[in-house]
Symmetry: none
């Protein structure tokens, strides 16, 4: 089953708000086996709304709109859709009563302007909206369907879950659109593609997409319109294959966070972790403490931004800093050893680098980052990378890579 | 001048990522006086991409696409647009060289698959992308224009600012759509609205919007389709009024980051800053070090996640922890004093709280955060807040509020 989504609001096209409704609808509908084949955003203009809904109806016969159901002048979705389908707007007594009661409950008189919210296209099914004043509307016309939802995200979400998805499930028994994602890090998209190879034909009809970000590259496989058990079986087989091909670069699936993976590795060993970071300035600790329950593994950390802190709190010998510079293998190893000794724990991560925009040299350009991971009393494992991107991206990539270095060390697996 | 935006990627329709590019394009183009009249999202499917671009071209003659320019099989935008316009793809030697140099700089061999990224539609203008492997493309055909940008937000943003907007400005003299934003923090949206009052009629034809986030509430005024000098004059007057009404809650305008404001305050006093944080786990230091050039003010910090670190490294007396608990005025003040003494600097920020999801009690529910700021040798200023939201939101709000506490202390202004 397919439909199109039309999100309505001038503020969307001006970029004044980000259209989270579209993503949320896509996710929820896919989970119900409904494929959103196109998403269109238009401004609060009569002709734009009418054209977008008409074209979408012609293509798929099923359109879901958000926005433009409020009480103010720029809320014209209902009028345009009613006009397009040739249905007059009629005052719905039940909706009017619910509106009046709502205002009464809030101890306010209902402004006259809200009365228009009780008008519905003739024959429409009203979808009650306990979270706001605008009900949703489900209009059918010669086999075609237009569902109108309010644009306020919490109201849209409530109506979707309580009114729309149950109705769609009745029309669409059996099939689902479902995805699984294999998360990798420490390997570039193109290198990963070479490793994965031409898997697309093997996993068909499932599709594969590469999604790169500062945290790494995700491999997403999707089953479209299959029966739930068939989709699950195929997805499981495809993700197993992808995990094998991604090998040591894969750290988990779906929403798995790398920091949570490393915390679990350490928890299994009853080990505790500390962090010493310079260029990432708190982001490594921040990533780790973002995981609920990190406190049974993570003790704390030192943000050694100035060399004074590197030598004073982490016992990095000043002569190392002088001879090799703060961004060097010798210093990052000394930072890892120093912080581990300082807190007397089993595991440590250290990072030092040049996040830019200034501070680069021909030998150590902006993006140069040394990372170290240490477990127990063996020599720290150190790694140098030159990360692309701006200051923020370099820092985010460095935090991810530093955490990943410890993951690889604990897994006993290959170097990056 | 009008154009349409087509964002390409199955992940957008599945809702697996939120389409921030569309909003960012809308905002940037409006600022350049270009109206986005429609935004369409389609999946990585040949016929869907081709149809969306063709229809948009028919309506406005000018289309901007994002996504589908990467090196993998699902990246097909370039091929479909070239096919639609009847232009063959040709290998561009300069793009190939730039790609090879990029991989060389990062110390890696270029995978063969990246070679396709050097193919461009015949006659296209290549928009160099120093942040990634996929250049942008500007293709003109009998008065119609298709601009293709990569989907990675930072790359899209860079190409837009450096290559696309300057070219559009040449085509579009005269009026602008322009906004200015007054940033506030430490005051709720409704309380801010009461302070600001009914300013909308005074500033008309400018419009006002309230944009709340974890960093505070932004007040955005927008001038629509005015001449640039008229827009600037009206925006300046409106922002002055808004700043006056927001008073001490306002910390800057537009892209101003609160951490940068505090760094500037300290820089002017030649003071240096340290941070001790528990529940924010590195985020306060991370916010501060995200500002380029933070290193002349910010020395470092301690992430005192475990009480062992609070007492061991920050000299918080264990009896304080026992008597008052880690989340208390006494402990946060001792943390600020301890870290300041430890590093022997002028200014310190400390945070301790309960970020959840567990750990709350009736007296100290999840979201309870104590913050302290200290400058010189006076007693630290401490503040308790109970923040709403999930773990991530509570941490982000706490980091912002802790930095803001020092801003208010240094400004000599009122308590939150």
């Amino acid at each position: 089953m397919k439909l199109e989504v039309v999100t309505i609001g001038t503020e969307l096209l001006l970029g004044q708000i980000i259209d989270t409704n579209a993503a949320e609808l896509g996710r929820a509908l896919a989970g119900a086996g409904v494929e959103v084949v196109r998403h269109v955003s238009v401004a609060d203009r009569p002709e734009a709304i009418r054209a977008a809904v008409a074209e979408a109806l012609d293509r798929t016969g099923f359109v879901l709109t958000t926005g433009g159901l409020g009480p103010t002048r720029d809320d014209i979705t209902k009028r345009e859709v009613a006009g397009l389908l040739g249905k007059p707007l009629e005052l719905d007594a039940a909706v009017l009563r619910a509106l009046e009661e709502r205002f009464q409950r809030l101890g306010r008189a209902m402004p006259a302007v809200n009365r228009t919210q009780a008008e519905v296209p003739a024959g429409a099914t009203v979808l009650p909206n306990p979270r706001g004043t605008a009900p949703g509307l489900w209009v059918e016309d010669r086999g075609r369907v237009v569902v109108m939802l309010p644009g306020v995200p919490s109201e849209m979400r409530g109506l979707l879950a309580e009114e729309v998805l149950p109705r769609l499930a009745q029309r669409n028994p059996g099939t689902v659109v479902r995805s699984r994602t294999v998360r990798t890090t420490g390997i570039a998209e193109s290198a990963l593609a070479e490793r994965v190879g031409a898997i697309e034909e093997e996993i068909a009809p499932l599709t594969l997409a590469y999604l790169p970000s500062v945290e790494g590259v995700e491999l997403r496989v999707t089953a479209w319109g299959l029966r739930a058990d068939d989709a699950e079986r195929r997805l499981a087989a495809a993700t197993t294959q992808l995990r094998e091909r991604a090998a040591e670069h894969c750290y988990g699936e779906d929403g798995t966070d790398l920091a949570a993976v490393v915390l679990n590795q350490l928890r299994a060993r009853k080990a505790r972790l500390v962090v010493a970071e310079s260029c990432t300035g708190g982001l490594v600790s921040g990533r780790i403490t973002a995981v609920p329950g990190a406190s049974d593994v993570f003790i704390g950390g030192v943000v050694a931004y100035d060399n004074v802190v590197k030598s004073g709190m982490l016992d990095v010998p000043p002569e190392l800093l002088e001879r090799h510079g703060a961004v060097s293998e010798a210093v990052v190893a000394a930072m890892a050893e120093g912080v581990q000794r300082q807190f007397a724990v089993d595991a440590a991560i250290a990072v030092t680098g040049i996040a830019g925009p200034t501070g680069g040299t021909p030998e150590k350009p902006v993006g140069t980052v040394w990372m170290a991971a240490r477990y127990g009393s063996e020599a720290p494992r150190a790694l140098k990378r030159i990360f692309p991107g701006d200051r923020g991206e370099i820092r985010a990539r460095a935090a991810q890579a530093a955490i990943d270095l410890l993951r690889r060390l604990l897994a006993g697996g290959g170097h990056q």
